[in-house]
């Protein structure tokens, strides 16, 4: 009973703050609203008994990535004239919601044909030990390639963002 209440509350918070994220005018409001979405998705991970991904979602996504984008927005010193004014924003959002709804309904219908399984919490299922054993036995090569990818992304970010000499 408690799990159902938590699920309904977290999913409502996630949906409402995601809608807020795409409809706020100021980018800083969108970022703060999106952080709420990420935290409620982390709570859903915990309800799906994957405690390691719950921690990673909070630390890496809501902590690192979102504070990076907050830092960039504050660093850019955005004024009102820099933000695009979108006079028909509400019309665009409702129109594309209506346009995308058949796709969503089709996917929901397809998902309902899956075998129904109750989402109870299993002890020690997605713990750090279980995920770590899987990661360092079957997924060693993707793990190393991810580290190379992160290095290349770091170099690319530095090369892109550095100030050019005046040409």
């Amino acid at each position: 009973m408690l799990v159902e209440l938590i699920f309904i509350a977290l999913s409502l918070i996630a949906l409402i703050s995601a809608l807020g994220m795409i409809s706020f005018h100021q980018p800083i409001n969108s970022v703060l609203s999106f952080i709420v979405t990420l935290l409620s998705i982390a709570g859903l991970f915990a309800l799906l008994s994957s405690s390691f991904l719950f921690i990673v979602q909070i630390i890496v996504y809501a902590g690192a990535i979102m504070s990076l984008i907050l830092f960039v927005i504050m660093f850019l010193n955005i004024k009102e004239k820099n933000i695009p004014n979108e006079p028909k924003k509400a019309l665009w959002i409702t129109g594309s919601l209506v346009a995308i709804s058949p796709f969503t309904a089709l996917l929901v219908k397809a998902l309902q044909t899956l075998p129904q399984k109750e989402a109870t919490i299993i002890n020690g299922f997605g713990s750090i030990e279980a995920v770590g054993r899987e990661l360092f036995s079957k997924w060693v090569l993707p793990f190393e390639m991810i580290s190379i990818l992160l290095l290349i992304a770091l170099l690319g970010a530095i090369v892109l963002a550095k100030k050019e000499k005046s040409i």
């Binding site: 994220m21 979405t37 996504y61 695009p84 997924w139």
Partner: protein, 107 residues
């Protein structure tokens, strides 16, 4: 009674909201966050599938997606800084130098 499919339905709804954000907004920061929202919805589907079949593989795949999202965040934010430094705007309609011929006259 909460089933695993309910989590996947929620993930599909979040993915659709992400698509709506990409279609309807012109602010590039909001575009970036809509893409991140879609990645998160896919993550939620992966974790729900891991719970459905009681295997840890898909949780490791979700971990890989989080790492790729971190790399993407670094590059995308560098591109946002570069674009803002050149044009002083966050409007996606401003960055269309390759798009149409008459924009050269406006510059």
């Amino acid at each position: 009674m909460i089933f695993v499919t309910d989590y996947m339905i929620l993930a599909v709804l979040l993915f659709s909201i992400g698509i709506v954000g990409v279609i309807s907004r012109r602010n590039i920061v909001v575009l970036y966050m809509s893409i991140e929202l879609m990645l998160n919805a896919i993550n939620l589907i992966f974790v729900a599938l891991s719970r459905q079949f009681e295997q840890v593989d898909t949780q490791v795949a979700a971990l890989m997606i989080i790492a790729i999202a971190a790399a993407e965040a670094a590059v995308f934010l560098a591109v946002i800084v570069l674009l803002f430094r050149n044009r002083r705007s966050l409007d996606a309609n401003v960055f269309r130098l390759l798009g149409q011929r008459e924009t050269h006259k406006n510059d």
